[in-house]
Amino acid sequence: MPPMSFRPSPARVLSRSLPEARWRPGLPAQPFHSEIFAPATEASGAGLALALARDALAAAGAAGGEGEDTRQVLWVQDRKAIQRGGRPCLAGFPPAWRHRLIHVAAATPEDALFAIEEGVRCRDLACVIGEIAGNPRALSFTASRRLSLAAERHGVRLWLVRLDAEADLSSARMRWRVGAAPSPPPRWNPAAPGTATWHAELFRARAHAPGEWMLSDDNTALAIRRDPEDDHAATPDPVRLARATFGRSLAARARP
């Protein structure tokens, strides 16, 4: 799929009547309950949830102006999600989050929902990230409504990753669909995989218009990757830096 490049029209940028109609990373007002639909054969769902959570916490921390955030993060998985997508690996986490992770391995989706709700009710948690595989009967509209209300009441943000799931009824305030996308070539080894890049589609949101973005996260901040051509500007290319060969003989170029 070709990467969709989004350029906001000047009218939309200038209009302040609808504040922040387009979603962008770093917005201070983020919803408390989001859903991310992702395939189970990739870690893109967990990666985007983690990136969004760090983005939201960084924005909230900048607004609150407090010191370093040392609150714990609750990561809840049901058994199917662990079987299909694996457990979180500490060494792959951003360094600031490695000592803050509490993992809950629930046997059933019901237990996972219970753990997520208990986590959302806990004032000492920074956020809750849940992973539930498929469309279990327990995760009905009522259950998602419970989660939304609890999260909004207690102010603990929740990102629920739905692995291999259909987008059924839900009361999540933002719903994403995400898949892995080809990464920009790294600067020093273009043949290697680059920083995490996803093709994310926001298909339902209360405060924002739907849209699609190429998002990337290099363990420092979530950013929109606007154009693959920009990468060449960032990557010094010795071939392009060479002076144009006007007025020079072809023999000189052919000489080794």
Binding site: A43, G85, C89, A91, I102, A106, S183
Partner: protein, 497 residues
């Protein structure tokens, strides 16, 4: 009937103790049971229970505080009681020792009791002196105890061997090594100095006879560890009318939780483990136990945790007594109470949240991943209880890239086409064929030879990205021709974000 207590050792059952008939028949502590049976074929062997003996000794030490305010254990079979200023209550020291003998005989124990001004002298007299011997503070201990063997100093067996080889058999010989007596003080001091240098490196009192001798004579202090009774906080309700309904039971448990909170508050403690026992009319006892992640003293929290454990209680003909015990408690200071009273407004605390998750999902389900010193990815991460302190860790190498998620176990992939460099160009995983577009690697991780078999194969890890952009961590187990198996297999272990 000759009887011996035995303990299983590497060389077979070994006798730890024998009764009088057994000792008369030739059984000694430390002897192999087979040797003792050769001497006395009808010897009865009973397994020893050292842990039970120690627990009994601890109970006895508390019971022995009837003769003094302060007692200490002397494992495996001794008790020390400080009777300073208490002997007159029993009619003098002889009467006190007689009372001790009577009380132990009534309990069915054989006891040898002695009195001395120091713990060491009392021990020496009770083990090697006449039973009921009394050494007063006015006596000259060296003159009265000088004939006892050096084993009366509570020394280790190897030190006793050394002393026997040196020819020192009695306490008097150790105190006056030269045999010169008081008339040659300088020679005596020099000999003592030589002995001191012989045991210079023996810091433990049990390995240093001179230190033990000084302790027995009261020249240096001897610290002892007293046994102190710590009653477990316990509250109970006897009910006039047996309970058969859940709502009433909840009410009783709530009252008990309130009582328990007051009992714990008086001691400045919080409960870590609580046991609820329900006595039924027909004599059945049902117990429910909860463990808490942090010391707590909140009746509402205790109530909620028990509420989920009482669903399967079968009341039968009714429950007549309910008892709540805190079998494990930890110090917990008083805290400002009502700032966060409204938990429904401000949410629960982390420890309360962990408790509720643990009670419903089980203790294994709620864990914290911590780094462990290993290069193998699946061993580099351990799971521990969430509120335990995180062990100190050496910093990880920043240039090693690791995936965000690791599969529970590496999944084999079928390589359809491998590039000449050795990594797969096209492979099948979970029924989908993927084209590898970009590769980085290999990162070689050798097997941990100190804990794995010699046939364990090394792993070459590659980070790959397929045509759709999904990033994986795959490895080849072994290399061709390493002599540890056939063609190397490929596995997919991690998913990059």
């Amino acid at each position: 009937m000759p009887t011996a207590l035995i303990l299983e050792t590497a060389h077979g059952p070994r006798i730890t103790a024998a009764n009088d008939a057994g000792a008369a028949a030739g059984a000694r502590a430390g002897m192999l049971l087979a040797d003792a049976r050769a001497l006395c074929p009808e010897l009865t062997a009973v397994p020893a229970d050292p842990a039970g003996d120690l627990a009994l000794l601890e109970k006895l030490a508390l019971w022995a505080q009837r003769w003094g305010l302060w007692s200490a254990m002397d494992p495996p079979d001794g008790l020390l009681v400080d009777i300073t200023g208490a002997a007159h209550l029993f009619g003098g020291e002889e009467a006190l020792l007689a009372d001790v003998g009577r009380a132990f005989a009534a309990q069915g124990f054989t006891a040898r009791a002695s009195l001395g001004p120091t713990a060491g002298s009392a021990w020496a007299l009770s083990h090697f002196g006449r039973s009921g011997a009394i050494l007063t503070a006015d006596d000259d201990p060296l003159r009265l105890l000088g004939d006892l063997p050096v084993a009366a100093l509570r020394l280790d067996a190897d030190v006793l061997t050394v002393l026997r080889r040196l020819g020192i058999k009695r306490l008097g010989e150790l105190a006056g090594v030269t045999g010169a007596g008081d008339d040659d003080a300088a020679r005596e001091a020099a000999a003592r100095d030589a002995l001191r240098r012989r045991f210079r490196n023996h810091r433990s009192p049990a390995a240093n006879p001179l230190l033990r001798l000084d302790q027995m004579l009261g020249r240096v202090p001897e610290p002892l560890l007293p046994v102190i009774a710590r009653p477990m906080p316990m509250v109970q309700r006897r009910l006039a009318e047996p309970l058969r309904h859940r709502a009433l039971l909840d009410r009783v448990v709530e009252d008990l939780a309130g009582d328990m909170v007051r009992a714990l508050e008086a001691r400045g403690e919080g409960a870590r483990r609580l046991e609820l026992a329900l006595w039924r009319v027909d004599g059945e006892v049902l117990t429910r136990r909860i463990e808490l992640a942090a010391a707590t003293r909140e009746s509402g929290h205790i109530m909620r945790l028990f509420a989920s454990r009482l669903d399967d209680v079968d009341a039968g003909f009714g429950i007549e007594t309910v008892q709540l015990r805190a079998s494990w408690s930890e110090p917990l200071a008083l805290a400002q109470a009502d700032l966060d009273a409204a938990a429904e407004h401000h949410g629960t605390a982390l420890a309360a949240c962990i408790d509720r998750l643990t009670v419903r999902l089980g203790p294994k389900a709620v864990t914290r991943p911590v780094a462990r010193a290993s290069h193998l990815p699946e061993r580099a991460q351990a799971w521990q209880p969430p509120l335990d302190p995180v062990p100190a860790q050496q910093g990880a190498f920043a240039f090693h890239s690791r995936p965000l998620k690791l599969l529970e176990r590496p999944e084999p992939i079928a390589v359809l086409y491998a590039s000449p460099d050795g990594f797969p160009q096209r492979f099948r995983w979970r029924g989908t064929v993927r084209e590898v577009v970009r590769v980085e690697g290999p990162e070689r991780i050798a097997p941990e030879w100190w804990r794995e078999r010699s046939t364990a194969r090394l792993r070459d890890y590659y980070r790959i990205e397929d045509a759709a952009g999904a990033r994986y961590w795959i490895y080849r187990r072994g290399i061709a021709g390493d002599g540890r198996g056939g063609v190397p297999d490929w596995f997919l272990q991690g998913l990059y974000a």
